[in-house]
Amino acid sequence: MLFRIDPSSEATLFAQLAASVRTDAAAGRLRPGDRLPAAREVAASLGINVHTVLHAYQDLREEGLVDMRRGRGAVVTDAAEPLASLHSEILSLARSARELGLSPDAIASLVKEAALEP
């Protein structure tokens, strides 16, 4: 599980943490049933507040990607599976977009627009 946060980014720290988990799930590095590291450990490791980590885990729970269980912590749900099935398509899309000279932001907004279309 790789967590990355950039304090200078506009995105909130908890959104960046949640995005890290989503990225790992999409890449197949996190599988259903895997346990996320304890919030306290992540916080100590990154030098951030434990509530920030818990906030991120809570958001992921509302999204359905993790399940919070007393005594077991945050466990990845079956929702990680469809995310991982898109991984190779996402990679090939990113590769072709890069070859065309599109910036990561441009790719993201194009994908977002396409996803919003009915």
Partner: protein, 340 residues
Amino acid sequence: MSHERPDPAVRRFALVTIVLPAVVTTVGLVVQLASLPQAPARIPPFWDSSGAPSGWEPAWLPLALTIVLGFGLPAVFGLSSLPSLRRGDRSPTFRIFGAQALAISVLLTVVVTSLLLQSLGTATEAGNRLWHLLLAGLAAAVPAAALGWLLQPKGSPPMPAPAASAIDLAPGERAAWMRTTSLPIPAVAVITAAAVIMALKAGLTWALGDRAGSAALLTAIAVALLALLAATAAFHVRIDAHGLSVRSMLGVPRFHVALHEVDSVTVIDARSLGVPGSWGIRIRRDRTTIIMRPTMGIRVTRQDGRSLFLTVDDAATGAALLQALAAQAPRPTDNPSTHQ
């Protein structure tokens, strides 16, 4: 898929572990089959110290034994190692495996065939016959092992692994990678079962109350097995601004490499370390290896030359982060005034 000729190491290994044992076993079988019509229906497999048979078995049993063990054992040796040899792994262990496979098949064939021949009644003294058989078997197996060793090419030293590619970290970006690596479930189950059996036996011995000494010993063994399990079955790995830390579930053993100590980080396959089929922790003066599964792992070499290797899922990501963090880390030598 290319169908080029497999390289000599693979071909010779297959020859020594599969082809030659099959030939030896076939010759043994032919001799046994030829002598079977003259053999009595039942033969004595073993003799007691006075030279009298200590049991009887049907004469076809040696044949069955030769077929199952003669073809089966070398095949197990061969097939378990061929995949990693094909992938390009080289180590003297494969040469030892090959020599062993051939020697075992020769030993078995000679002992079992002579056993059948001796029971034909042509044999002289009954006493010490088992010794004669074993000596004859060993006399044939030792040169076979030497032949198996010599037939295989000398292993070339493994290619130096390329350094792990570093993750791109923006200035000020923080990152942490965490992962738990554990033994395969069956291995854990076996150790747990052994500990539970010991605990039950200990409980029973305590309950019967007549042998406190052995009860205490059994309890100690059960506790030791459980401690062993907790200390070696799973490790938590963390890579962050503090460096690499590896900690067992028990808390000890634990290992730590600070970022400024890191000299190089590589991702290598545990199977290329020359310890096929083995797992566990090996701590030597300059090299510590923690092998949980036969998979890829992270190897960190410190600036003083000592290295730490451990197998872990997604080793590439962990190694890439460690590489990036180590490249950013201030080195004590860069700025001696801030270093004690």
